[in-house]
Every structure is written in C-alpha cells, then in structure tokens.
C-alpha cells in the first residue's frame, strides 16, 4: 500500500507540454512572477530561455539563483508567490511556474550539468547549525565564494523538514539527496548526529569559526495540554518523520483523527489515505473561508476522501480516545472516537543552550545578526514567512551579511 505514498503525486511535463506551457507565458516587461519569488529565482528569465530553446541556460538561471531549485519547484506554494500576480491570469490562468522549474531542474539532472563554480578557498571558516533549506543555502552561497563551511546537524541525515517533514509523494528523498550532494560537492562539510548546545557548545563554535549561523528551524511539534501524556496521541511532525524515514512502511490503524487545518495537517491526512487508512477525520479550528492550507493541498486531501470538519475546537478528551469538540460560533458539539490522534497544531523552535532569546517564535534581534557577536541566524527562526523558499531567501541574505561582516572586519 505504501507505493502510492512513495510515488510523486504530481506528474511532470514532457518536452512538448513544457513548451506549450512556456508558450502561454506573455514574456512580460516587469514580470510580476520574478518580483514575487521570495528567493529571486527569476522565473520570467528561465521561462524565456526555455521558450527560446535554451534549456541549459534556463537551468543555469534556476541553479545560480536558487541552489534548492529542484526542491522549490516541487514544494513552493506558488499560488502565493510567483504565480500570484501572473499577467496570464488576465486571459485564463497563471503559468505553471513550479512545474516548469521542475522540468528544467530534471533536465539539468538528466544531463548531469555542473553549473555552480566554486572560488579558491579564502581562509575563512563558518559554522552553520541546522541543515534545513536555510542552513543549506547559506552554506552553499558561502562555499561558492571560497569560505570553508561546516554544518552541524542533530539528526542522522541532513535536510531538516525537507528530509523529515514534507512527505515523499510531494518531495521524494531522492531529490533531497541530489540537492544536498551538489552542496557537499561544493566543499561543504556536514557533521551529522551532533546537537549544538548538547554535543558541542556554541561558545566553542564561536571561537573556532569566524562566524556561526543558527538555522535550527521550528523543530518541534506543538502539544495541547489536554492531550499531554495520552498514549493515543502523536504530534504531526513526529508521525510524518516516521513515515518518511521508513519510506511509508508504517502501520496505520483503521480510524484516525487529525486535529489541525494547515499544510502540515493536509500532509498528514493525505499521507494517511495514501497509506491505506480507511477512515481519516480532520477537525479544523478555522472555517473553510479562513483556511490556512494551500488550495492545492486541500484539494488533494479532499480528492483522497478525507472527512474534513471545519470550525471546531477540541474541549476535552475522555478515556479511550474520545475527543469532544465545540463549534466556535454556533451551538454545536462533536465527539470523535479514534484509534490514533494526530496533532497538527503548529510547530515551535527550540534554541536551548544556543545563547539566543526568542520573541514570538523569532530571534529577538533585528536583521540577521545577534548584535555585537559573530552569531547570525536564518530560516524559520528568523524574520519572515515560514516556507522553504523563504528559507532559501534567508540563507542567501545571511550569507551575504556574513561575507560583509567578515570582509569588513579585515
């Protein structure tokens, strides 16, 4: 049953179809797609290259602007970013930019193109804590300019939520492997199974390296007090991690209750269905009109036959896994008994022993640097949106600032 989970859900373009799609592009003047890609991947330029038969040039544009181009192509919420203001919507519907980007990076991979050039070592050393999209991008951008970069990662494999969060059917780990391999080949060293603050002190890193970048993400799922210590309850990110780790070879019970309505919840319910769970009930705090999950993920979940109930909050949990919900507006109640309860009510950061303070889930300093130190930060714990492509943007930004800092100190 796990094949479905392992197979990429979305079908890629063939050469003919990608050209048809590129031909729909209006080749705009001040292309809104390019100005609304957080990472500066420049879709208007790579689509134009493709349209004018220069696929290799298109691959260069993607890869130079976005070192995780093949990943972003698959996981970006494009309807919020590049495709949001697409001029083509004035005629029918936006250009499928993510799918075009995927075609281009698949082409790059098939031809084994080696695009990024690495400069001679410049003698400077940088440590990065965390190997999610922000840490990986920062490392690659610094390595490109000759910095010696070491990433410290607490897990057994690199990638952060790319590896352990986003399900296989949306982002195969094989793609994550290839993107990371490219970065390792640029000279970046990744030290696994090493938690900074526990296995190694951040003070040591600050001494040994010219700069330290904290990119630890939102590594923990949130708990609701009423579910604490309940053996039937698991946090969404922990469950998703198990699935991805075991390539979908996990046992799913007959009847699962999911609480939460964001993208993480959608990943959980869809994964459950793809793994063969017959009864998946998702109870969501928001009403449909204010739903947080992307339309595409919601549609996928509905297509899979997930029961989604909107507008209810959990108020109590009884023995045997019976959860009581109340509607937020109307006088209505709901009771659900399930074999397993998965909580997808958000993630939070953990910066224990890293010598930094948080404020509303972000490090309490302006910009990307802790004032008066050689410590920088990026990704979900930095300022901005909590998505992969923002991680890439933030990784580029922090690399730029680190270069300025280290160049300026001389």
């Amino acid at each position: 049953m796990s094949e479905k989970y392992r197979e990429e859900y979305e079908v890629g373009f063939s050469p003919r179809l990608v050209m048809e799609e590129a031909s729909r592009c209006l080749l705009c003047l001040d292309a809104p797609c390019s100005s609304s890609c957080p990472a500066g991947t420049d879709p208007a330029k790579f689509i134009r290259s493709l349209r004018f038969k220069n696929v290799k040039g298109a691959a260069e544009t993607v890869r130079i602007n976005n070192i995780l181009g093949a990943i972003c192509a698959r996981v970006c919420p494009t309807e919020r970013y590049c495709q949001a203001g697409c001029s083509r919507s004035g005629i029918d519907k936006p250009i499928e930019i993510g799918l075009i980007q995927r075609y281009i990076t698949d082409f790059e991979d098939a031809l084994k193109m080696d695009i990024v050039e690495v400069k001679e070592p410049n003698g400077k050393k940088v440590a990065v804590i965390g190997s999610g999209p922000a840490g990986l991008t920062a490392a690659a951008k610094l390595a490109e300019d000759g910095y010696q970069v070491t990433i410290y990662e607490k897990e057994a494999k690199a990638g952060g939520y790319l590896r352990y969060g986003i399900p296989e059917y949306r982002l195969p780990n094989q793609i994550v492997d290839k993107e990371i391999k490219r970065i390792v080949e640029m000279g970046v060293d990744i030290v696994l199974n090493t938690k900074v603050g526990e296995d190694i002190k951040i003070e040591e890193l600050r001494k040994e390296y010219d700069a330290v970048i904290i990119a630890v993400g939102y590594s923990e799922g949130k708990m609701l007090p009423m579910f604490e210590n309940n053996r039937k309850v698991i946090k969404a990110v922990d469950w998703l991690k198990k699935c991805k780790d075991k390539k979908g070879n996990v046992k799913v019970p007959e009847n699962v209750l999911v609480v939460g309505g964001g993208d993480v919840a959608m990943d959980v319910v869809t994964s459950l269905k793809l793994l063969g769970c017959p009864h998946v009930t998702d109870v969501v705090y928001e009403q449909f009109s204010e739903f947080k999950a992307s339309k595409k993920e919601l549609e996928n979940a509905q297509e899979q036959g997930v029961t989604i109930i909107d507008g209810y909050v959990p108020v109590a949990v009884a023995r045997g896994g019976i959860v009581k919900f109340k509607h937020r507006v109307i006088p209505a109640e709901l009771k659900v008994k399930a074999d397993l309860i998965i909580l997808a009510v958000g993630q939070s950061p953990n910066v224990e022993n890293l010598g930094v303070e948080l404020e509303k889930g972000e490090i309490n300093a302006k910009g990307v640097r802790v004032p008066d130190t050689n410590v920088f930060f990026a990704g979900d714990i930095g300022h901005g949106e909590k998505t992969v492509v923002w991680g890439v943007r933030s990784g580029k930004e922090v690399a730029f600032e680190v270069k300025r800092f280290l160049g300026g100190k001389k």
């Binding site: 050469p15 290259s49 004018f52 038969k53 220069n54 260069e60 050039e117």
Partner: protein, 423 residues
C-alpha cells in the same frame, strides 16, 4: 556556467559576438542602439540612411502579421522605407555611438539613387566613425525605382554603385541582397566585382500576407488600399538559408564573407546560419516582437552548443553543413526507411492514418478495436509524413530496406535523422 569566446572577425573587423541588429526600426536612433549594445549585441546596423534629397513619407499603420492557429507571428509584413530622421541627426547618432561604444561594431547602412549619392553617403558615414558599411540594394517598398530591390535585381547597377562606394571609402562594405530574384549569385558576384568585401542576405520578400474579407483589400489597410511589400520573420528563414547556401557553394563566391539575415530568433536559428557559412548574423523581426533581450539566450545557447561540439572558436563551426547539401540528382535513392511506431507513446488520434491516406500512400492502417495504427510495408514508400504529423512523436525512422535491384550496401551505416518530430 558555460563560458565560450563568441568573438569572430567578419570583413576584417572583430565582433565581440556575431549578433547584430539588422538595419530597420530596431536601430533607428542613438537610444535604441545604445540599449542594444548594453544588452549585449555585438554590433548594430543602423537604420538605412538615404540621400538628403529623398524625402521619406511613411504610411500608417505599416505592419501586419501572418498567424497560424495559436501562433501570433509566423511571418511579418512591413511597409516601411528607410530612415525617417534627417541625415544630420543620423550622422550625429553614429558619431556618438562610436564614441561611447568603441568596442562594439557600428555598421552604417546607406542607400542612394545615383552614383553621386552613394559616394557622398559613403564618405559621410566613414567620417562619422562607422566601422563598416552596408549598401541597401534591397528594400522592396521604395517609392522610387532607382532605389531598393530594383537595384538589387539589376547586376549592372549593383556593380556600378559598389564601385562608387569603393572610390569614396576605405572601410570594408557589404552589399545587402534582395531575395526577390531567381539567382542571388548574379548580383552578388557583380557587387564583389564592383568592390564589395562581403554580402548580406536577405532583405524582405515581396508579399501580400492577408486580405481583409469585408473591405476586400490587403493588410495593413492604408485609407482603403494596400501594397505589395516586405515579408520577414521566422517564415523567411528557409528562403534565406537557401540563398546563403547557394552563394557559399558558388565557385566565385565561396570565399566571400556573408552576414546572414532572416527569421533569426533562437540560438538554433543562429547556429544554422553559421553552419551554412555566415560569420555574422542580423535580426529585426525577432527583436520587434520580443525585444533586444533575445540576444541573451542566443549567446548563451550558442556557447552551450560550442561546448557540446567541443569547439573553442566560433569560426570552427562556420560552413560545416555546406558540404552536406548537394544537388538532388546526387542523393542516395537506393533505400527506403519505414516508420517505427511506439505504441506506448501513441495516444490513438489517427492523424498519421489520415495524412498517409489523403497525402501519401494509403499504407498506414487503423486497428479500429485498439485504436492504433500499423504500417503496411507493401504499400509504404517511406516518406515519413506520418512522423511529421504525429502530435506526440510516436513515429520515427525505423527499419531500412534496399529497393529491389539495387547494389547491396551497409544500410546500418547510413546517416539518418533520429526523429522527424518537430518538438
């Protein structure tokens, strides 16, 4: 990132890359040419400058496009003559361009109505700082028969005017040919005899591309009427390539350098002109439709092509295809190649069957039950029309067979195209 040296010497002048604006509104004034240089064009052929006494008076509107299905611009028609700006303005622009962009090439295009005009114009643009000159013998919509394509189809005039220009300048110059002629080699040879250093081809093709069915007049409509005028863009590329190949293989012209023009939009188009012997390339319609920015992908794509071909100098690609274009009577007619159908790719539209029946040899048969084609080899002649019309590229050249009674040969060694698919 691919990096290759695209520089190439044409008529003794080194170009940073072979891509130039061709003479037309895309190079009408200082601002436009400066922008083009900044966006990476190797050279500019400034809009054709005419004699002071010839007054330009243009029509409005002046363009139309030939379309096909969803394709907005297969070909392009224009009714424009030569530069609208005054001679003084144009010369001032040339001077300023050369001063500010010394490393990119500036080519002045000129057109006179008699020997004196040509001499005077050649002298003026030489003094203004042009690196080379192009003689416009080829605009098909001039309002004077002493100018434009009427000159280009008259070898004596070509030779006479080239000689006049030769007398008044030491700069290298090329004669720009009209395709509105059966054999371009004749005026090209005459131009070289008159003193031209190279040839530019092609200018636009005389055309009527659309007729308004209500008003019963060609397009564009100029107060109820229209005229025959120049056709350009992608659709004219095959015509340009043919003339260029003929010149490059003519004994008297094979060593003459050629600037190729006509329908260039992509690096692939550019590479085709180069493989047929061009050392320089010019573009108008592609720029009018998409802007100067198309040069980025033409340059980058050409570099990747050089990389794939393992060459470091663009020069090494020039003319490589000419030896493989031979007279029809010399082609190998001993074999035929049958279509090979990939049933996994086939989507069951039956277009191959329709085209084979109505346009070929009734060999493609339809399995009604499975909705898939099969080729009846007894009838098939191996024309491969079926492969061209297949919308998914499921049909490609397959089994090769010797025609009956021909001398045996190693059929597997024959060089055939891998696919006939158009995408």
């Amino acid at each position: 990132m691919v990096k290759k040296d695209l520089s190439i010497t044409f008529m003794g002048v080194k170009f940073p890359n072979p891509f130039c604006l061709s003479s037309s509104p895309v190079g009408n004034c200082y601002d436009m040419c400066a922008k083009a240089y900044r966006e990476g064009w190797g050279g500019v052929v400034f809009k054709t400058i005419g004699p002071k006494h010839y007054l330009i008076d243009e029509v409005s509107p002046r363009f139309d496009a030939l379309t096909k299905e969803a394709e907005p611009f297969v070909g392009f028609k224009n009714m424009e003559q030569i530069a609208e700006h005054s001679l003084e303005e144009n010369l001032a622009d040339l001077r300023r361009l050369k001063k500010e962009f010394p490393n990119q090439v500036l080519i002045a295009s000129i057109m006179g109505s008699n020997e004196e005009d040509w001499e005077v114009l050649a002298k003026l643009v030489t003094e203004a700082g042009a690196d080379m000159i192009e003689l416009n013998f080829s605009c098909p919509q001039m309002t004077s028969h002493a100018m434009g394509s009427d000159v280009g189809s008259n070898p004596e005039l070509c030779k006479k005017y080239c000689a006049a220009v030769r007398r008044s300048t030491k700069l290298p110059f090329m004669a720009k040919m009209t395709p509105n002629i059966t054999d371009m080699c004749v005026p090209a040879i005459a131009s070289i005899e008159g003193g031209a250093d190279g040839i530019a081809a092609i200018n636009t093709i005389k055309s009527i591309i659309n007729v308004d069915l209500d008003k019963k007049v060609g397009l564009p409509i100029i107060n109820g009427k229209s005229s025959i005028s120049g056709y350009s863009g992608k659709a004219v590329k095959p015509v340009a390539l043919r003339f260029i190949q003929q010149m490059k293989t003519h004994p008297q012209l094979k060593d003459v350098e050629i600037s190729g023009i006509g329908g260039i939009e992509t690096w692939e188009d550019a590479a085709e002109f180069i493989l047929l012997g061009c050392k320089n390339l010019q573009v108008t319609t592609g720029i009018m439709q998409y802007g100067y920015r198309i040069v980025e992908d033409m340059k980058n794509g050409l570099m990747h092509y050089m990389d794939e071909q393992g060459v470091d100098k663009l020069e090494d690609l020039v003319g490589l295809a000419n030896k493989n274009i031979i007279p029809a009577e010399e082609l190998d007619r001993d074999y035929k190649v049958y279509p090979e159908i990939n049933n996994d790719k086939c989507v069951g539209c039956g277009r191959c069957v329709i085209s084979c029946y109505d346009g070929a040899h009734q060999a493609m048969e339809w399995d009604k039950e499975n909705r898939r084609p099969t080729c009846n080899k007894d009838k098939c002649v191996g024309c491969l029309l079926c492969g061209l019309v297949c919308p998914v590229g499921a049909i490609k050249p397959g089994e090769r067979v010797l025609k009956p009674g021909r001398k045996a040969k190693n059929l597997s060694k024959m060089v055939l195209q891998e696919s006939v698919e158009k995408l």
